[in-house]
């Protein structure tokens, strides 16, 4: 804050309003797909999504252009940094809600249903119900058919853990290379990161198919399936988003963007990638292993 430079105030922009229309249509469409399921709602949803994609390209495009024209001051850079860090913090809290649900169920709700602890009397709802984890016998199997098995931690999930942790290393190597201006090295390591990410997504997809088809482990198979798919599913969605970010970074590097000391776009994607990795470690420990 020491320097007295003038503030950068960007041009008026049409993107916010485009984004609102896009997101509004998309959300409204999604809700009406779930409630009414008509062709109209699908059309609304797709129009909304198309506008969102157009907006994302346009908005980030103009930010990138302004940044490359050198319009941004160090102050803007700091604002972007604060913005990105707090965005990641909000994502952490989002996952915290689901982890909280998982812990609450395992520590309190299920033992109570099984007849233990302060509210053990709730066992009378389904007499003879045994609380186990993973929950392979739901209290009411008619409504929530139990899964036949769960995914063990030491097969595919272990492979996935190794993949993601490695990718966190490779992206850091790429970052250091960028700082030293070895552009070729950056490309190699970034491509490696993206490849690892894509393999991860494929393995995860295979795991889901396996769970649904062979184990009858679905969203509807009681609380284990609910927490399992919600946590890993949202994580998977974040992995895909992070991968898209990294791919865009690769394209930008191929176009010759970024310099050794001005590459916040790259850093932001790397931060995001590390965040995704850390969430996975939490998942691996609490969803699969314990």
């Amino acid at each position: 804050m020491a320097e007295n430079q003038t503030y950068y105030v960007p041009e008026q922009s049409k993107w916010p309003i485009v984004a609102t229309v896009g997101l509004g249509l998309m959300m409204y469409g999604l809700a009406s797909i779930m409630v009414f399921d008509t062709t109209g709602s699908w059309i609304t949803f797709w129009i909304g999504s198309a506008i969102m994609v157009y907006m994302l390209f346009g908005w980030f495009g103009s930010v990138i252009r302004e940044s490359r024209e050198g319009l941004y001051s160090p102050q803007m850079d700091r604002s972007f940094r604060w913005g990105m860090s707090w965005f990641i913090f909000s994502e952490v809290m989002f996952f915290a809600a689901f982890f909280g649900a998982l812990f609450y169920t395992r520590v309190f709700a299920l033992p109570w249903l099984g007849g233990e602890g302060d509210r053990g009397s709730s066992n009378m709802l389904w007499e003879g119900f045994q609380a186990t984890w993973p929950l392979i016998n739901t209290p009411d199997p008619q409504t929530y058919p139990a899964p036949e098995g769960t995914i063990g931690p030491w097969g595919l999930p272990l492979i996935n853990t190794i993949l993601l942790v490695t990718s966190s290393f490779t992206v850091t190597v790429a970052h250091h290379a960028l700082k030293e201006n070895h552009r070729k090295k950056v490309k190699t390591w970034l491509t490696a990161t993206i490849a690892l990410a894509l393999v991860f997504v494929c393995v995860q997809g295979y795991e889901y198919v396996h769970a649904y088809r062979d184990l009858n482990l679905t969203l509807g198979s009681g609380i284990y399936g609910s927490t399992f798919f919600m946590l890993t599913g949202f994580h998977g969605a974040h992995v895909i988003l992070g991968t898209v970010m990294l791919i865009i970074m690769l394209i930008r590097i191929n176009k010759g963007h970024f310099t050794a000391d001005n590459h916040f776009g790259f850093e932001a994607s790397a931060w995001y990638w590390h965040f995704v990795d850390v969430v996975w470690l939490g998942l691996f420990v609490f969803v699969y292993v314990i």
Binding site: S13, W15, P16, T20, T105, L113, Y144, T218, S226
Partner: protein, 493 residues
Amino acid sequence: MYLIFSFAMFLLGGAMAMVIRAELFQPGLQIVEPEFFNQMTTMHGLIMVFGAVMPAFVGLANWMIPLMVGAPDMALPRMNNWSFWLLPCAFLILVSTLFMEGGAPNFGWTFYAPLSTTYGPPSTTFFIFAVHIMGVSSIMGAINVIATILNMRAPGMTLMKMPLFVWTWLITAFLLIAVMPVLAGVVTMMLMDINFGTSFFDASGGGDPLLFQHVFWFFGHPEVYIMILPAFGAVSHIIPAFSRKPLFGYASMVYAVGAIALLSFVVWAHHMFTVGIPIAGQLFFMYATMLIAVPTGVKVFNWVATMFRGSLTFEAPMLFAVAFVILFTIGGFSGLMLAIAPADFQYHDTYFVVAHFHYVLVPGAIFGIFASAYFWLPKWTGHMYDETLAKTHFWLSFVGMNLAFFPMHFLGLAGMPRRIPDYALQFADFNMVSSIGAFMFGATQILFLVIVVKCVRGGEKAPAKPWDGAEGLEWTVPSPAPYHTFSTPPEVK
């Protein structure tokens, strides 16, 4: 923009409250069906919380924080613009549910499962997505506030020299970023339970409906501080200005706000004393809740100490601010009564609770907003508002508000349950008084609209600093403040 939108929502939510009070004017069912009554209580709560109070404070933040820290605009102006436009969009979806088959959400603004999942109307899904959009908007707004405050302060303005309104907003923004994603998480779980057969809140699949309340109130309790902390900040500007004395105990004010914010994360289950949580949990949450009274007491003490021996004058902002301190304290005390777990078993879900939170929200948040509006209107418009009309507005609001909400304490202690369209005969008199007060308070708000429009269109020219005792960067620039005021940062000693 935010402020106009929020006032429109205030009137809409207010109109719904009028429907509620009209129905409750006399015992028996007269005007509306019970189902519609439930939709009204739900929508009234949602619109007032998310549509009126929060955007009003975000609006004040957008206008005042850049002026107070000496910046041209918020740090990320385009994102700011987006977070505004999302709000009308979210409320369009929310209000449209009123016209859907099965009606609008009818399960109260707290949307407890399973009322909202197993037994909710089909429009619940739309409601969930509306909440998602509001959440996105609030998070972006909050990120923006934090980035502005941390990064765009004028040289020389250290953290402990920041105006209190800025401090309270910094902490509010932190709370928003921490809890809005949790709200998004809980409505997502609802969405999955309703549409995709998960069993988060269904015990027959191993879940627990109580889980909903835990996650919801983890969001919900910090949320009430989100609605009150900026008002604390604004009042901490107004009282010194009209007492012509500096604020008593600046540092303790900052620490008190911080303490309230931190404590707000560990008190959520005091909303749930009657659901059968373990005794150890009840004790913990009871004591933690009472602890909040300590920093709040520090703040009230400091405001009173600021007024002590000041040369006080009572213009409209000061009237609202003093009423804020007194009435908020009443709301705080009834909060303490509710915090005592065994007493809460009696009070829970009665009109006493309704009286409590209306006493903190109406004279707390809403009076705080009115006070700030009158305080800064000359700065925004360049004209003085009509003082006589403003004082009329204050006295009518003050009397109407107390008439509406004070009898609710008695109703609640006598055992009248909340969220009910009909009641036993012995509650009739107090309900009638309460309804009359509510109509009075509601009608008075039209006067506020008149005052503001008059002030925007003309009136006595306002000097750069219309109040003798006011301090801060915002008073160093002409009224109205020029577009993108500080394009080069001013020095702060």
